[in-house]
Symmetry: C2
Subunit: 348 residues, 2 copies
DNA sequence: GTGAAAGCGCTAACAT
DNA sequence: ATGTTAGCGCTTTCAC
């Protein structure tokens, strides 16, 4: 409750104490002994006046702006950024921190985003949260040095900055296990063909589930292409056109799954009765609007945003060890979201 | 370039002038005469030292934080919020302002969002930008009084706050005109059934195009229901099942259009050869991933974000008249985005 | 257990 | 045309 014009001296006067005491009790300054009775009086006075500290004055004095910079790629393209923002936002509010957001283009090279980082530095943010829109490796701009930083959805090539990334392997395991438990043994995998962690991780998860259930790995069941709707359609047409077609498809992402839906429809295959499909990403706009709803794996964007702010706070307070954290990226859970695209395979 | 530890006095010393002069030069303070030669010297000194002002000190002194609060509903749900953020962001940067974002739940009642507004006030934002996720009327929280405010995608019930909203009528005109120009005369309209401006505006646009082209209005061609995929499907099934089915469908939004695609497929109607479809919203995730790509109308979220910040700046500088602006919401263009879902009707 | 006072970096009123 | 200086509201050192 910051009512304009009310300052710490007004509170002091009303409580009959000095501004020092007010500052001490309102900030719970450590190593400061203030009588309990006085504390109560001060707090009451503050509330009565609707006092709130002047952030600018605090910042000037303490050299801390209370601002956290969020540098995010492609805010406008997917709702993913929205979830990161939301998670970061809520965590920031918890710690009385304010989120400042800068959008950036997807670029690469060590000097990419340097200007955006500078804009954040000019704003005197206390820390920065660097978010990419898909899981990959990045080189951080040099001017980020010295500013507490945390990465979201990417890992630092130099291995010096803590990062949170989705547990791709775990997500794929959840997806494929769901299919196996429904009774499927011939499970096709429409994978991405980019050399990114998700491509490898999801394949690894797929293989590990087969192995665990003693289902032989059949390389002809794994197709790959660009992770878009059209390639998903083409790949699905191909694999579903075979006489020994799989009874289920695990798709690298929801867009490819959307393509697979179309292929199935064209081939007269009903979902989920003739064909089960699981996607990845949980893009609500797609997954919830397909017929039937697409069972898929959610990416932990909200959680990564929250984790990032929490970690930054602990770093700022010296409660966490950056080197230790940076050693290994923190893996966040990718939970399965069950809709209606999976059923038991035909008895035939 | 804010290099820590460099202050205005360092610049003054290096340039051999007083801090006053430095301040005057760097801020282009009006009514201040400084010799051109001095200005140059000061600017060079500043650049040499990598000087950047301490925002906190500036804020403390001038009572302006340089912060703009963006209160947005449902940041995480659609990419719409992302575009508003982006537009606002870019405009803010232009004016050396920083955007602070607060997410909010969709609520109603005059006290909805009051706490969120308070959070912004506590942050001492200079102005606020209040954005809703779909076009409607709102009552603003009382504590927003006194803070320059601008509305996005909604209008103020009290008629006191300037607002930017999409030109729903114009967008519908663009959509239906496109259909008419392709040769269609029997055009179905799958409308929303909520009592919101978009429902009425898009119907008005639809009717006005028919009228302009002397196509009689046929009420049986206008169906309405909830603006979701499933109702879109059901409505489309119904209207396309008729013997005198329309040759084209204008859908209230892309989700309904997605349902219409499914209905067309099931009925063996090819798009665009047997049926043309135009949507509304330009949700890329849907529109670009449908087969064929959905021709639709884009909502001006980016533009509304930019307009809002520009307007706020002008309000702050006293260059715009709030009352005049608040009188009538500013209409922003909804341009047609042509993909592949429209063709000439069959000759039969 | 409490208070006086210095000073964070800047702007602006006032002098010169 | 340029400089001197007071103070914005707060935290913090030091004195009591």
């Amino acid at each position: 409750m910051a009512v304009k014009g009310t300052g710490i001296r007004d509170v002091a006067k009303l409580a009959g104490v000095s501004v020092t005491t007010v500052s001490h009790v309102l900030n719970d300054t450590p190593h400061t002994r203030v009588a309990e009775e006085t504390r109560v009086r001060v707090r009451e006075a503050a509330k009565a006046l609707g006092y709130g500290p002047n952030r600018a004055a605090q910042a000037l004095r303490t050299n801390r702006s209370g601002l956290i910079g969020l540098l995010s790629e492609e805010i406008a393209t997917t709702p993913h950024a929205g979830r990161i923002i939301l998670g970061a936002q809520n965590a920031a509010r918890e710690h009385d921190l304010t989120l400042v957001i800068i959008n950036t283009d997807r670029e690469s090279g060590p000097n990419a985003h340097k200007d955006d980082v500078q804009a954040l530095i000019d704003r005197q943010v206390d820390a920065v949260l660097y978010a990419t829109m898909y899981h990959r490796m990045v080189s951080l701009p040099p001017n980020l040095q010295g500013l507490p930083t945390v990465l979201i959805d990417s890992t630092d090539r130099a291995g010096i900055v803590p990062a949170a990334v989705p547990d791709e392997v775990g997500g794929a395991i959840a997806a494929v296990t769901h299919l196996v438990e429904a009774g499927h043994t011939r499970i096709g995998f429409l994978n991405n063909d980019d050399d990114v962690p998700a491509t490898h991780g999801r394949l690894e998860g797929y293989r590990s589930v087969l192995e665990k259930h003693k289902i032989p790995y059949d390389a002809s069941l794994v197709l790959s292409g660009p992770s878009e709707t059209l390639p998903g359609y083409e790949l699905a047409r191909e694999i579903l056109g075979r006489s020994d077609r799989p009874t289920a498809l695990f798709c690298y992402n929801d867009r490819m799954a959307m393509g697979a839906y179309r292929a199935a429809t064209e081939l007269g295959l009903g979902i989920p009765d003739d064909l089960s499909i699981v996607g990845f990403d949980n893009q609500e706009l797609i997954a919830a609007n397909l017929f039937p709803g697409l069972t898929t794996v959610a990416l932990p964007h909200y959680e990564m945003g929250a984790w990032a702010v929490e970690t930054l706070v602990r770093l700022l307070h010296g409660e966490a060890d950056r080197k230790l954290l940076a050693d290994e990226p923190t893996l966040l859970d990718c939970p399965l979201v069950i809709r209606g695209s999976v059923a038991a395979p035909h008895a035939d």
